[in-house]
């Protein structure tokens, strides 16, 4: 159900206050794993709940200064963590981190706890991310029915 494509790019842009240009970049760099990456001229890309999490996370990281091109190299791992969390939110690892090992290689790891020992890392809380998306969707639904 998390993978049903429901929202258009325009709706996502309005809901989260993310300009259209980064949304297009996220799709083209495959940071956001759309069901239909190239829907054809005149058709909007559609976003599932999983895509919303991927988008919000990418936007958050871009705000922190992480370039989308760099992020795209680790997108597959990050998206795997999100999919796993959405499938089993109670048992799957809640935290994801991008970290550097001693050889200064960038790695991705999933954790259930917050005791992290890396010298440098970007920490992501998938539960908080999911809650924020759910809150936003609940607000949008309330506005829709009020209208």
């Amino acid at each position: 159900m998390h993978n049903l494509p429901i929202f258009s790019t325009k709706q996502v842009s309005q809901m989260f206050g993310i300009p259209r240009r980064p949304l297009t970049a996220f799709a083209e760099l495959q940071i956001v794993d759309h069901h239909d990456q190239r829907p054809g001229t005149g058709n909007s890309r559609r976003y599932s709940i999983a895509n919303l999490l991927q988008t919000k996370l990418a936007w958050n990281l871009q705000t922190l200064g992480v370039a989308p091109k760099k992020l795209s190299r680790k997108a597959e791992h990050l998206n795997y963590g999100i999919a796993r969390y959405l499938d089993e939110p109670k048992t799957a690892p809640r935290y994801t981190s991008i970290w550097l090992n001693d050889e200064m290689e960038v790695k991705v790891m999933w954790h259930t706890g917050t005791t992290l020992t890396y010298p440098a890392s970007i920490l992501m809380d998938l539960k908080k991310l999911h809650e924020e998306i759910n809150d936003k969707l609940a607000k949008e639904t309330a506005i829709y029915y009020a209208e």
Binding site: L64, L100, V106, Y118, P119, S121, D125
Partner: protein, 150 residues
């Protein structure tokens, strides 16, 4: 442990820092020019090498870690003032001061911005935040400089 006063003595040239810490010379030059590293003499004149103190090396090494993880130089330079402040505060007492430099996004009426702070544990308090263990970096710097414990 080196005397705290020595932290600010300019000891290594940019080339030496580059060789010991495997940070490209070009990146070090940019850090100096963008103010990411707070050198005593950021523009020493033609033919004179820039000199880095231990504090400067920790600043540069932190920036390099951020860059490798994907944080762009432009963003680092906008945060340099706060980052330098936090690093210097940490170096005032490495044993007891909070060791994790944290960067996290916050959303204001003027748009998104990045806040800088320190915490004892690298808890991911936000959806996505950066944590740099300054204590580990500092110890690595000393190790690479071959300081002997006193």
């Amino acid at each position: 442990m080196p005397n705290k006063m020595n932290y600010n003595l300019p000891i290594l040239t940019a080339r030496e820092v580059s060789e010991r810490f495997e940070i490209p010379l070009r990146a070090l030059k940019q850090y100096a020019e963008l103010g990411i590293v707070n050198l005593a003499k950021p523009r020493p004149g033609i033919g004179t090498a820039r000199r880095f103190s231990i504090t400067n090396i920790v600043q540069a090494y932190t920036a390099w870690h951020l860059q490798i993880m994907g944080v762009n130089q432009k963003k680092i330079s906008t945060l340099q003032k706060d980052m330098i402040y936090e690093i210097n505060q940490f170096l005032d007492n490495v044993e007891t001061n909070n060791r994790h430099l944290m960067l996290w996004p916050s959303y204001t009426d003027y748009g998104p911005q990045v806040d800088v702070g320190r915490s004892d544990t690298p808890k991911p308090l936000f959806i996505g935040s950066v944590a740099i263990n300054l204590r580990t970096l500092y110890e690595t710097v000393l190790e690479k400089l071959e300081w002997s414990e006193q």
